[in-house]
Symmetry: C2
Subunit: 242 residues, 2 copies
């Protein structure tokens, strides 16, 4: 992992990073005087476009004393395209635009290779970050592609809590994998999400093996998450990271 020099944004220190060919961003609280917990900030792909929203989430996390990091997803943003993922993504979008349910096959072809590669990269990122003096863990996942959050929560023992956004299609294999998640989970669902299946989101919540789990569903479409729901998710993370 390569880290760029620090940029000081009032209460936040920002550093761009690269891990292999993947760009990322690390935010740490400017005033932390001991190693901080770490939040893995998920996103739908293209961290250049998402940067203002990611920075706002990182700022809120820093106010609670937490570092945040994000990493570009395979085949998105400035990274080399992956033809098979682009094809599957185009097929899935065409189905949704036509008002049809995407086939399990196209969901599998898009999400499973993405999750396999991204999960390996995010684990390597956590390995590298926990070597830094200012970052001590524990680690939580927050938002982004829900199947990636499930995979990380299910397989990385350093992760102590998962704040998930049930806003993308989920392969059947990931629904099964959710049964092996045991850390506390907070699942956000937009009740009228146009790019998602409500029943599948409820099935995912039901499948999670966590003994503490909360579903919070709010009226509105994919991008209409109310600010109080973001605050509630932040409180969930604070309960488990401190």
């Amino acid at each position: 992992m390569d880290l760029s020099p620090e940029t000081r944004l009032d209460t936040l220190i920002e550093r761009d990073l690269t891990l292999g060919d993947a760009p990322g961003i690390l935010w740490t609280p400017a005033l932390a005087d001991s190693p901080t917990p770490l939040i893995l900030l998920g996103h739908p792909g293209d961290i250049g476009r998402m940067r203002p929203r990611l920075e706002a989430r990182a700022r809120a996390a820093a106010a609670q004393g937490f570092a945040s990091v994000t990493l570009e997803l395979p085949g998105t943003g400035a990274r080399a395209r992956i033809v098979a993922l682009d094809e599957a993504r185009a097929e899935l979008r065409a189905a949704v635009l036509a008002g049809e349910r995407p086939t399990e096959d196209v969901v599998d072809r898009l999400i499973l290779p993405l999750v396999d590669q991204a999960a390996a990269e995010w684990r390597a990122l956590v390995d590298a970050l926990l070597e830094l003096p200012g970052i001590g863990g524990p680690v939580a996942v927050s938002g982004g592609i829900v199947s990636l959050g499930v995979r990380l929560a299910a397989t990385d023992p350093r992760i102590v809590a998962a704040s998930l956004f049930a806003g993308s299609w989920v392969p059947a294999a990931i629904l099964e994998e959710a049964r092996t998640v045991t850390v506390p989970a907070h699942v956000l669902l937009q009740w009228d999400d146009e790019g998602n299946d409500r029943q599948q989101a409820l099935d995912l919540f039901d499948a999670l093996g966590s003994t503490e789990k909360t579903l919070q569903a709010n009226l509105g479409g994919h991008t209409g998450v109310p600010s109080f729901a973001g605050d509630d998710a932040a409180r969930f993370l604070a309960r488990h990271l401190t």
Copy 2:
């Protein structure tokens, strides 16, 4: 309405009351210096048995500057029994204990007359309380028989927010009435509630006509509502009463 003399419980002033043959309890913040909003504290019946839990909820509300009131339900606690309700309640419990789904008929026979009578009584209670110098409104409903909360939210224009606990069977007529609720709603659901139907709770949330509505579902049975869920519901009420 008759009000007993005040009892001062540190930060809380408690007064027993009677409205017709119904006993109730009014709690006001000891330190309020202007007329306060009012929360209608719902419960499953028998306020004698529920008193410690109701007082705890009233104490939390008073810390935010809100008065709280509760009233015994028709046919429960110290009030005269209502034979038809007792019979319907016994039938419903027998069905649940036998692992069967209660019929729509028995749910209607228990809930609809209870809601009709209780809603009229709670409206009269609000009429009387808003005459008191210390209580100014607005008014919110909080918990208790969910069908009563829906009825009050749908029909009493003084109510500005409804915090509902989807923990009891709901007649089809109340599901329809939920479509006419327009105030912000926060619906708490215990995911494994043994005395309730999960799908019916989801249908009720879906039916609510509110443009701001949140469903919060937590793992566990009817009595296992986690404390953070109570805090979230209190924050919802505070957002809409202040």
